[in-house]
């Protein structure tokens, strides 16, 4: 099968590879780059476990081909902590018990980031509206919503 070159920046590092045109971005990140924090829960854009940022916008990486990310900038869950220090959203999720099995967590953290970048002081209703892009089977969302509120407060400081 034809293979196409892909060059992109992931978490600040230049990456390249050759992929089949049909390769999804999520599979490129996981299988070619070893960034296994981005998870596959449904592969049809419903669960949000594969959410990443592409040029600053929240993207479900199962709905994007790797070649579509050519010459673009991608941030995955691995790119949030700097020097081993968790960022405010990650820290709020830890402190607030906002996860259980952890499988949906990277996606929720990325979605929360995207929300707070756009709206630094969201209401509970706005948080719930925005995070409805992602599914969690464990938590009932209560502690996730609280963590996002706390992260927002910390980021505003």
């Amino acid at each position: 099968m034809t293979r196409l070159p892909v060059k992109l920046t992931v978490n600040g590092e230049a990456c390249e590879g050759e992929v089949e045109p049909r390769t999804l971005l999520v599979h490129f990140l996981r299988d070619h780059l070893g960034l296994t924090g981005t998870h596959v829960g449904c592969v049809v854009g419903e669960c949000g476990a594969c959410s990443v940022m592409v040029d600053g916008a929240l993207v479900k990486s199962c709905l994007m081909l790797a070649v579509q990310a050519h010459e673009r900038t991608v941030t995955t869950i691995e790119g949030l902590a700097s020097g081993g220090t968790l960022d405010p959203v990650q820290e709020a999720f830890v402190n607030g018990f906002a996860l259980q099995c952890g499988f949906c967590t990277p996606g929720f953290v990325m979605a929360a980031h995207a929300l707070l970048d756009r709206n630094p002081d969201p209401s509970e209703e706005e948080i719930r509206h925005d995070l409805s892009s992602n599914l969690c089977m464990c938590t009932g969302y209560v502690q996730i919503v609280e963590a996002v509120k706390n992260a927002a407060a910390r980021r505003r400081k």
């Binding site: 960034l35 296994t36 998870h39 869950i77 830890v94 409805s132």
Partner: protein, 811 residues
């Protein structure tokens, strides 16, 4: 002497930091050298004979390295032994990992293919030609029992695969004494807990052993399955992080573990298989559709004398979990009530639908639904208040420990207080006023209603439970419970432990570390879990399963016991080193401190110093003391007896602890669309001693949210042709942040007198009463229209239909 510095606090999560950084380690994240990727070919038919399976040429060129057809599976493997979930099977029916000769549900695995990449394996499925002879599908339990219904298993001669009953007390006499018999037919639909990570297996066969990494909640099932099916005794089952379980990953996953392992044996290369979402929806296992014909014998004052239930369980297209939903009803057969007479008749009916599996409470939500719907119905028929009828029948505070007629011992509880607190927290009386006013306004497009229910959460499984209905069974699956833990003080003074069971997100590491910290006198930061489950390293037993709410009982008991043993060793060594008596020693933050017997001078020795001695300096060990500082303890529930094994009356201790909770839901029903919105959801919960309150909160939020989602419309829908119509999470109707209410919790812990720390279960509990709470609230909202809620889910379509039917009937 230990102190509770950490137990009872919301100690910082040990698991969360790696998960928020994307550093969780799930099966799909693992890569082995020369690893192949497998893909499963599944049946497109609900019911068909497999006439032939042929594999086209040119496989090698497509990157394919191995294929297993039904012929191969039959030739190279053996059928599973009937497990405990198939108790009651009247004819031995061999079940292999893949379909042999016939398919009985859409998605049943027929063949497996392995290739260099996952994509190549998926492409190559087209190279397998299966000739099916379609048979008429049995698409519902009603269709299954008609005289001319096609037989799903010819060997059984009927689609009613099992029929039986349990009976406690004198039911007929109770019904003769009744002032009134209240009757109702109830139904719960098929649903699942849809863990976000589907099934995953990675198998490697080396000359010395078969190793499988598998996201199984019950590694013993995988361990036994590999041995039974492949005849390999030297099996190692490793369970890394699991992306949610809820019961889904206990049973059917063994088929895929065997197929993956067989492929690894055949190809001589490591093989990874990852299920996809639609595969999981069609073949990963569902909860039963359950139908109940219920009769309650009641006195005019609301006292319930007895209950008769005829339960029909749609068990799908497999005999391997024949009675699982029935036997699990023994766990909460009497809910929170002191009723003495009950008969439960059961029928397990085969259909051409997905096989059924354990699922967040399995059978217990149905049992609670029966009790709580009946309490409302009894109140309506007798003209009494529904809360008062419940109160009239609750087990009272002074009756604990209370033994139910079927042998369960509720160690502690205060059900009346739970109800009172729930009513107060939800503002019950104010709500009734508001409701009356809003009904009087008569201009409403919506109606509001409230439902208040109560239920128990059984915890800690007795492996012999299923024997209660099958005392004639010769294959006893085990009895009581056994599970271990190991705690070790390392050479540098840090502490590691190993548990016997895997975690699916219930914070086992955090919780166990808190217990070890208190027993040993070190900070939780000094303690780590040595690794996830590994059958070659973990001290495991029949209860080493992330199911049956086992953790709170067995793991907690085991890790507490192991830490206590280790503490003894530490103190023995320290007394020798400090030349003092053990009784004069205490442990403070990883340092053993004592006073010398004569001078009274304070002396101390750190864990790190003791570690160095124990592992590296035999000269300083007390004479005869074994080197090392490690202890293992296997916990069994001290109160397993009496009734660990069933007696002549069919009584058995099905589970060992009983958490309880009252749930109050306020809903708003849109009369135009039938849409139900949950406005408030209040829980008052008794989970015994709380080890980590925030962890327990999370378990309650999550299980309540699932039960609410189930009640509001989440579920599987089949067409008449046996095709599953809900293959995605969207079609399936899983609730998001928008539909899930901001659940409110109050803890009202009543410690259990028989457990290590007074703890009771906290896992699946809130999924048990929540469907009943929503049903009760919706019925209350629609009371002015005369609507009765008899079945779930209360999807907009169904609610709209209920409203329309009542209007059409002119009521």
């Amino acid at each position: 002497m230990t102190t509770n510095l950490h137990v009872g606090t919301s100690a910082r999560s040990k698991e969360a930091p790696r998960h928020v950084a994307g550093r969780g380690r799930y099966v799909d994240d693992l890569v082995l050298p020369r690893m192949l990727h497998a893909c499963v070919l599944r049946s497109p038919y609900a019911h068909a004979h497999i006439r032939s399976v042929t594999v086209a040429g040119g496989l090698q060129a497509s990157g394919v390295r191995g294929v297993l057809t039904p012929q191969d599976v039959k030739a190279l493997s053996r059928p599973f032994k009937p497990g405990r979930y198939a108790a009651g099977l009247r004819v031995p029916i061999p079940e292999y990992a893949g379909a042999i000769g016939k398919v009985r549900y859409v998605g049943e695995p027929v063949a497996i293919i392995a290739a260099d990449t996952g994509a190549a394996a998926e492409d190559a499925l087209e190279l397998i030609e299966v000739e099916y002879e379609p048979l008429p599908p049995v698409s519902s339990p009603e269709a299954a029992v008609t005289a001319d219904a096609p037989l799903i298993y010819e060997e059984l001669g009927s689609n009613i695969a099992w029929q039986g009953q349990v009976s406690y007390g004198d039911v007929d006499a109770a019904f003769q004494r009744a002032d009134r018999i209240v009757r109702e037919n109830l139904k719960i639909h098929r649903y699942s807990s849809t863990p976000l990570e589907p099934f995953a297996c990675l198998a490697e066969h080396t000359p010395e052993r078969l190793t499988i990494w598998c996201n199984s909640q019950s590694p013993d099932v995988i361990y036994d399955a590999i041995t039974e099916a492949l005849g390999i005794d030297n099996v190692r089952v490793i369970v890394p992080d699991i992306g949610g379980g809820f019961g889904q990953k206990i049973h059917l996953i063994r088929k895929y573990a065997v197929l993956t392992a067989l492929m690894a044996v055949k190809t001589g290369r490591p093989v990874k298989w990852i299920e996809d979402r639609s595969e999981h929806m069609m073949a990963g296992g569902h909860s039963c559709e359950q139908q109940f014909e219920v009769e309650a014998a009641v006195k005019a004052d609301g006292e319930v004398l007895g209950l008769k239930i005829v339960d029909t369980d749609d068990v799908g297209g497999s005999i391997s979990t024949l009675t699982i939903h029935f036997t699990n009803k023994l766990n909460n057969l009497f809910n929170t009530y002191r009723v003495q007479h009950l008969r439960l008749e059961g029928r397990s009916v085969l259909t051409n639908r997905c096989p059924v599996v354990p699922n967040r409470g399995i059978g217990k939500p149905g049992m609670c639904f029966v009790w709580e719907r009946m309490m409302d119905r009894i109140a309506q028929e007798l003209g009494l208040d529904a809360i008062a009828v419940r109160r009239r029948n609750l087990i009272t505070k002074d009756q604990f420990p209370y033994t139910t007629p079927n042998g369960n011992i509720h160690g502690s509880g205060d059900y009346d207080t739970l109800l009172n607190k729930a009513l107060a927290n939800v503002g019950y009386h104010d709500f009734r006023k508001r409701q009356t006013e809003s009904r009087a306004a008569r201009t409403q497009e919506t109606l509001i209603g409230i439902g208040v229910v109560i239920g128990v959460e059984p915890g800690g499984r007795n492996a012999a439970r299923d024997m209660a209905i099958f005392p004639q069974s010769k294959q006893m699956p085990g009895a009581g419970g056994v599970e271990g833990a190991t705690v070790k003080l390392e050479k540098n003074g840090s502490v590691v432990f190993r548990l016997g069971s895997p975690s699916c997100g219930q914070s086992h590491e955090t919780t166990a570390a808190q217990i070890v910290a208190d027993v040993l006198g070190v900070r939780p930061e000094q303690i780590a879990m040595a690794g996830t489950f590994d059958s070659s390293l973990s001290p495991w037993g029949v209860s080493s399963s992330n199911s049956g709410n086992n953790f709170h009982l067995y793991d907690v008991g085991a890790v507490h016991g192991a830490a206590t043993r280790l503490r003894e060793k530490v103190l023995t060594l320290a007394a020798h080193v400090l030349k003092t008596e053990r009784a004069l020693l205490r442990i403070e933050d990883g340092v053993v401190v004592g006073r010398l017997p004569r001078s009274g001078a304070a002396e101390s020795v750190s864990f790190a110093e003791l570690g160095k001695i124990a592992y590296a300096n035999q000269a300083l060990l007390p004479p005869g003391m074994e080197g090392g500082l490690e202890a293992t303890y296997y916990h069994s529930h001290p109160h397993a007896d009496p009734l660990m094994l069933p007696d002549m009356l069919g009584r058995v201790r099905a589970q060992y602890t009983f958490s309880s909770a009252a749930h109050a839901a306020i809903v708003e029903v849109d009369l135009e669309t039938g849409r139900v919105r949950v406005l408030r959801y209040v829980i008052v919960s008794d989970n015994g001693t709380l080890i980590n309150p925030s962890v327990v909160d999370g378990q309650i939020y999550g299980s309540a949210a699932h039960g609410i989602s189930v009640a509001l419309g989440e579920g599987f829908v089949y067409g008449d042709d046996g095709q599953l119509l809900t293959l995605t999470l969207l079609d399936y109707g899983k609730s998001t942040t928008l539909e899930t209410p901001a659940i409110e919790i109050e803890h009202y812990p009543v410690p259990d007198p028989f457990t290590t720390l007074g703890q009771k279960a906290a896992g699946e509990g809130a999924a048990i009463p929540s469907p009943a709470a929503i049903a009760s609230a919706v019925e209350d909202a629609l009371a002015p229209l005369g609507v009765k809620v008899r079945q779930l889910p209360l999807s907009p379509e169904r609610v709209w239909q209920l409203i329309r039917d009542e209007k059409a009937a002119g009521r």
